[in-house]
Symmetry: C2
Subunit: 336 residues, 2 copies
DNA sequence: CTGAAAGCGCTTACAG
DNA sequence: CTGAAAGCGCTTACAG
């Protein structure tokens, strides 16, 4: 592989000048710069990442922590992150967090401490207190995505508002017999405000209150945020005489499962049942699902921009946009 | 951050000995080693990746090239790769290949040439000839996954055999009116053998021949390997009197789309229509889809092992396993 | 604007 | 088994 010396020799300058011309740091005359650039291009020279980062302290590399990579939401966010980082010339080092405590610990105690990355994007869900502390101790810019994770700066949607918007759409249509598919249980007291499923359930309940519907009249079913889980929960909800006329599912995947359950039971959507989800899943259009889109790909892009900005100066937390997208899965109730 | 000097001082040895004790390379007495390990642990020392790789030429890092990250198949493979690499202590640097020619070129000409990685796993689909050449020129171990990509060592399933197995299952059940959803067109002549959709269509046709069914009697519909695409293709196939009794779709996502299309048309699966796919999609169980599983997560794991092995010695190409999983979407035809 | 030189934090022959 | 020292390939004050 060609080294900086060869470029320097070819361009007739010192390695210091080559470095300056290539990095854009420091003063170089236009003529010299172009001679260096030409020589580098002719030789196919690319700066060694390890030499450069050892000498400069900059790695041109961002670490990305994901709870799981093979679920639609997270892979979509990751695609956005990759796109934002690559176009800025940054590499991305991926850390998939497993449930295995030993492997998790290794990520925080070894992998992330190799000084390989200049900053970190952490998909906030699933990080516990001590892991957040370890991230802070890294002394690097860290951006949390998807949930507020104090003291880290976070990019997150207002999940209460998201759920309230989705449910409000249903009550606005005239539905009074509502059900929620999501979580039943609050997380531990002190992490409650960060537990997204709980926030969405709270938004659901606030929307009921907004509409003057008794909280006790609404049914809740627990599910695991998958299509299968949503299907099973909806079967329990729908396969009985006092079924609800509308369901707010805390994710599009569960909502799609609910739509399939309705079909399985011979119910018409939206004739017999309205369904609304959250996310903006790639299949929501195909299934005609009304949803509150939170633009996950764009979230990844923003996280990339945020961590890059944080390399220069501390960045404040920012709210993420969301939007109700009305499709065919919701309509006014046909009865009562 | 603590450096190797501090560990050396704390353990009362030279930095050379610390390096040897920590890396396991070279001879160190048991007593010394444990003193060093204790000191390193007490100080929370982690070797600097850039210093270590500059000095040793080993980066403990593998590059992974993906055509897209936010599709089920690829994110599942990636999860397998990440799991295999992380448990070996390796970092993974992710390169998402876009369609943008400038960004693609940057990956091959700049990103991969920074000497940041010790080896590369390339999801073979979508790499063109010149990109393969660039990979070879890297002079690093490269493992191609999913398609043969000479001269790179490849891990791939025999896609002709996969399709033949799937289709043979259908003809074995007694179906004679078959259709294929996949690709209609062969790729360019000289890349034909690597074009997976074409290989699967060929397997379909071989199975027809095996069963003595005229090739001309089978219908083909083009689709883009998504649920939506499979749905649209199946609608064209099924919404007419001379519809087939069985469909072989070249991916599970298309097969699921076909099952949904059948339902939309009021057709019973498998009563009126049998459907078989390829992949082992996470939803294939939920939809009761018969499929040829190719274990994508496991493929990622194997690719990780293969590239790690290739760091030591050249590895030969290897065939990947696949398996017919029969579920409720296939049965003997009820007519003709 | 440019160069000589120190230094980034390790690893590894080499010598003992 | 252990240490002194060179060297990995850059970057960046410092001096001019």
């Amino acid at each position: 592989m060609v080294s900086i010396d060869e470029v320097a020799r070819a361009a007739g300058v010192s390695t210091a000048t080559v470095s300056r011309a290539l990095s854009g740091r420091g003063q170089v005359s236009a003529a010299t710069r172009s001679r260096v650039l030409d020589a580098a291009a002719a030789l196919g020279y690319v700066v060694s990442a390890s030499a450069s980062s050892l000498a400069s302290g900059r790695a041109r590399n961002i670490g990305v922590l994901l709870p799981v990579v093979d679920r639609w939401f997270f892979s979509t966010v990751l695609a956005g992150i990759a796109s934002g980082l690559q176009s800025a010339g940054y590499d991305i080092t991926l850390y998939a967090l497993t449930d295995d405590p030993v492997e998790r610990a290794a990520v925080f105690e070894t992998f992330l401490r190799r000084r390989r990355v200049d900053g970190v994007i952490a998909i906030a869900i699933s990080l516990d207190r001590s892991e957040v502390r370890r991230l802070v101790e890294l002394g690097l810019p860290v951006v949390a995505l998807g949930a507020t994770l104090p003291p880290l700066p976070s990019l997150s949607v207002d999940d209460v508002a998201v759920a309230r918007l989705a449910t409000g759409h249903l009550t606005g249509l005239g539905h009074r017999a509502l059900a929620h598919i999501g979580t039943l249980h609050d997380a531990d007291d002190d992490t409650e405000r960060e537990h997204i499923p709980s926030l969405r359930r709270r938004g659901f309940e606030l929307a009921l209150r907004d509409a003057g519907i008794a909280r006790s009249s609404a049914r809740h079913e627990q599910a695991d945020f998958t299509i299968e889980g949503g299907h099973a929960a909806a079967m329990r909800l729908l396969d009985r005489p006092d079924r609800p006329t509308a369901i707010f599912a805390a994710s599009d995947e569960m909502a799609i499962g609910a739509m399939i359950a309705a079909r399985d039971l011979g119910l018409d959507v939206p004739g017999d049942l309205s369904v609304v989800g959250v996310d903006g899943h790639e299949l929501s259009g195909f299934f005609g699902l009304t949803t509150v889109d939170q633009f996950p790909h764009d979230q990844g892009l923003r996280a990339a921009e945020a961590v890059l900005a944080a390399l220069e100066a501390p960045t404040p937390p920012a709210p993420l946009p969301f939007e109700l997208v009305v499709r065919g899965s919701t309509a006014a109730p046909s009865r009562g």
